[in-house]
């Protein structure tokens, strides 16, 4: 008798869990574009500034080029509060463990943007102390070339990242 009852309750539990999964999937499917839309227009950036590209980062963040139009104007100087890691400048071998730790401290979902040719490929620093691109340390979403890049290029790169975020699937947590 007791075994039968147990089985019965199991069935009920299974049905409930099926229903929950179904409902969750439906909601996620409907909510995904909305959540992505919210994420792409509220990117909180962590500027990991190591070199001269920092000047261009300041320029693109200032009113003339106005990163605020894209919702990414708010630099957070704690990786815990940031969604977007701006790698601005040359990454040396000495700097690489620090960059990886900062990236590991960021909470998911997170994106990485390589700002300038040094962060993308190492640039012309093909020498003993420079990492040949930040993607050898952490995965990078968007590469912006230029030495330094024009602010228009940066904004273009940011728009590419926004498109990428809008197209994302399966990163919704309900």
């Amino acid at each position: 008798m007791s075994e039968d009852k147990l089985l019965e309750s199991d069935v009920i539990m299974t049905r409930r869990s099926d229903a929950e999964t179904w409902l969750r999937e439906r909601i996620e499917k409907l909510a995904q574009p909305v959540i992505n839309w919210g994420r792409k227009y509220s990117l909180f950036g962590y500027p990991f500034v190591t070199a001269c590209c920092g000047m261009e980062y300041m320029s693109v963040n200032s009113p003339r080029y106005d990163l605020a139009r894209f919702g990414a104007e708010f630099p957070r100087f704690s990786p815990r509060q940031a969604d977007l890691l701006w790698i601005v400048g040359t990454i040396s071998q000495k700097q690489a463990p620090i960059l990886r730790r900062v990236w590991e401290q960021m909470a998911d979902p997170k994106w990485v943007l390589a700002f300038g040719v040094c962060a993308s490929t190492g640039g012309f620093y093909d020498n003993y102390c420079t990492v040949q691109g930040a993607d050898q340390v952490i995965p990078v979403d968007v590469y912006i070339p230029g030495c330094p890049p024009r602010p228009e290029q940066v904004l273009d790169g940011l728009c590419m990242l926004q498109d990428k975020i809008q197209a994302e699937k399966g990163r919704v947590m309900l």
Partner: protein
């Protein structure tokens, strides 16, 4: 410009000054390693010279030069007298040591550490001779000419990134073209 410095040095030390030359207003004296501290003290304390500001200390690797491979180069300037001078010391590969001038000019501290870091010149008498630019795990001295040009020593495991092949030898008409 600072011919007075070279003249006084030659008059005072004679044989210890191996060579002097003046090119475009840059006056250089090559001195022996044994007399370096004495000469440096004279340059600092002599009332007519007063070379009180240590601008730089670096080295030059003349790989293949007979006997003495390295030049250790000091740049000194006088804020009071508005002249400057360059002192060179020749150092061999087997014994790359040089007396430290940090006790004479405190500002030489990090310059000598940098020279140790990048060229491997040991400064005897330096209070804290350790690497200043490279990390402690680094092996070798990267600005020496025999350091392999493409050798890197990463501190962490690098990700395996597929490199996009580049065109090694562009055709002649592509060189210097936008």
């Amino acid at each position: 410009m600072a011919q007075i410095v070279l003249d006084r040095l030659r008059r005072k030390f004679g044989d210890a000054i191996l060579e002097t030359h003046s090119e475009h207003g840059d006056d250089t004296a090559v001195v022996t390693r044994d007399k370096l501290v004495e000469i440096a003290l004279f340059l600092r304390d002599d009332p007519e010279l007063q070379l009180n500001s240590p601008v730089d200390c670096t080295a030059v690797d003349w790989q293949g030069r007979r006997d003495v491979r390295f030049d250790v180069v000091y740049h000194l300037t006088s804020i009071a007298k508005h002249h400057r001078v360059r002192i060179k010391v020749r150092v061999s590969e087997n014994d790359p040591t040089c007396p430290s001038l940090t006790p004479i000019w405190r500002g030489m501290n990090w310059h000598e550490r940098e020279t140790w870091d990048l060229y491997g010149i040991r400064f005897t008498g330096h209070p804290n001779l350790k690497r200043v630019l490279m990390y402690e795990e680094f092996v070798g001295h990267p600005l020496r000419k025999d350091y392999p040009i493409d050798k890197r020593q990463p501190l962490i495991q690098m990700r395996n990134v597929k490199m996009v092949p580049t065109q090694k030898n562009p055709p002649p008409d592509r060189i210097n073209q936008p």
